[in-house]
């Protein structure tokens, strides 16, 4: 995806999205190295996996805020978007802390895992709000619309996966491996958006809504 963005000269325009993908690649390489050295069920791999996942989720959350900045660019609302992003992140972290406070053992690890799960859901709600804003403001940039929609699919896949695992823990053996399959969707969809769609491509967003507007 980063290569596609570089080739189509969109790297700087969507800087945080590209940096997120580059970080994800580094994180995957680190996971593979630890997996090869210590094994799948080792404590080292589990710690590295969940901590890196939390960092990546926070990174993706900030990447989402840059998509907000793109949509609201004409309103000069960048400052408010930044402030809102930080406030919501702090609020999610506080909520997560309040939930995990009761468990005394491995508080930090528990917090990191819960924060990551909660941020997927917060990210999903924020993406939906952004999609509603795109429809309301009649945003027509095809590439931006596809970046937002694919991010929405990605967040909802992960949020649903975590919710099912919390509801039915015995199903974890089925849903944990699915994370790797879901993880492929975002880089492929974003690579497609950068490679196939020129920056000046336009479409009518109201035609895409499930419920016609």
């Amino acid at each position: 995806m980063v290569v596609c963005a570089l080739k189509k000269r969109a790297f700087r325009r969507y800087l945080l999205l590209n940096l997120y993908m580059a970080t994800a690649v580094v994180s995957e390489l680190g996971r593979f190295k630890i997996l090869a050295e210590y094994g799948f069920s080792s404590r080292q791999y589990q710690y590295f996996y969940y901590y890196s996942d939390a960092i990546l989720t926070i990174f993706l959350y900030f990447a989402l805020s840059t998509l907000y900045a793109h949509v609201f660019s004409e309103m000069n609302a960048e400052r408010y978007v930044k402030m809102g992003t930080l406030l919501l992140l702090a609020g999610t972290a506080l909520f997560t802390y309040a939930v995990v406070e009761q468990s005394t053992a491995k508080l930090v690890t528990h917090f990191v895992v819960e924060l990551s799960q909660n941020l997927y859901f917060v990210g999903l709600v924020l993406t939906y709000v952004l999609w509603a804003a795109i429809l309301k403001l009649r945003e027509t940039r095809t590439r931006l619309i596809q970046l937002v929609l694919s991010l929405g699919v990605y967040f909802s896949l992960f949020a649903a996966n975590y919710a099912i695992r919390n509801l039915y823990p015995p199903l974890s053996s089925v849903f944990v491996p699915l994370v790797q399959v879901f993880g492929l969707f975002l880089p492929l969809a974003w690579a497609y958006a950068f490679w196939r769609l020129p920056e000046d491509a336009r479409l009518v967003p109201a035609r895409l809504a499930v419920i016609p507007r």
Partner: protein, 133 residues
């Protein structure tokens, strides 16, 4: 309770985003005019029909794969199956929904035909490069 709420919201939003994403892919492909050659190969004369989708996808699989097209065609394949499910269940009792699913399935076929045209052009380029070298 909380997990059940999150699950319901996530599944609803997943469907919303997925359908809109697939429709954005279809909308981008509709602007592409198919060549007469691909229309002949794909069997699309006047307008694309959902019945031709499986055949066009089979033709696609005969051409060399292009990684940048993979996510699009897989997403549209899943969307086509979803439409097939809606068509054989809810759309049986709602005629307007049946018309809508037919139109969407036709657009899925058109998307596959556009991808086929790109793959044919890509194969020709590769063949020409091989001949030159």
């Amino acid at each position: 309770m909380m997990a059940a709420f999150i699950l319901i919201c996530s599944v609803y939003l997943l469907l919303t985003f997925f359908v809109s994403y697939c429709r954005s892919l279809l909308a981008a492909s509709v602007k592409h005019a198919l060549s007469a050659e691909v229309q002949d190969v794909a069997g699309i004369k006047n307008s694309a029909s959902g019945e031709d989708f499986a055949r066009v996808v089979q033709l696609l699989q005969l051409c060399p794969d292009r990684p940048e097209d993979r996510s699009g065609i897989q997403a549209i394949g899943a969307y086509f199956n979803l439409l097939g499910f809606v068509r054989s269940t809810i759309a049986r009792v709602i005629p307007t929904l049946r018309t809508w699913t037919e139109r969407e399935r036709g657009q899925c076929t058109y998307f596959a035909a556009v991808t086929l045209e790109r793959r044919i052009a890509f194969s020709r380029d590769m063949f020409a490069q091989q001949l030159e070298s």
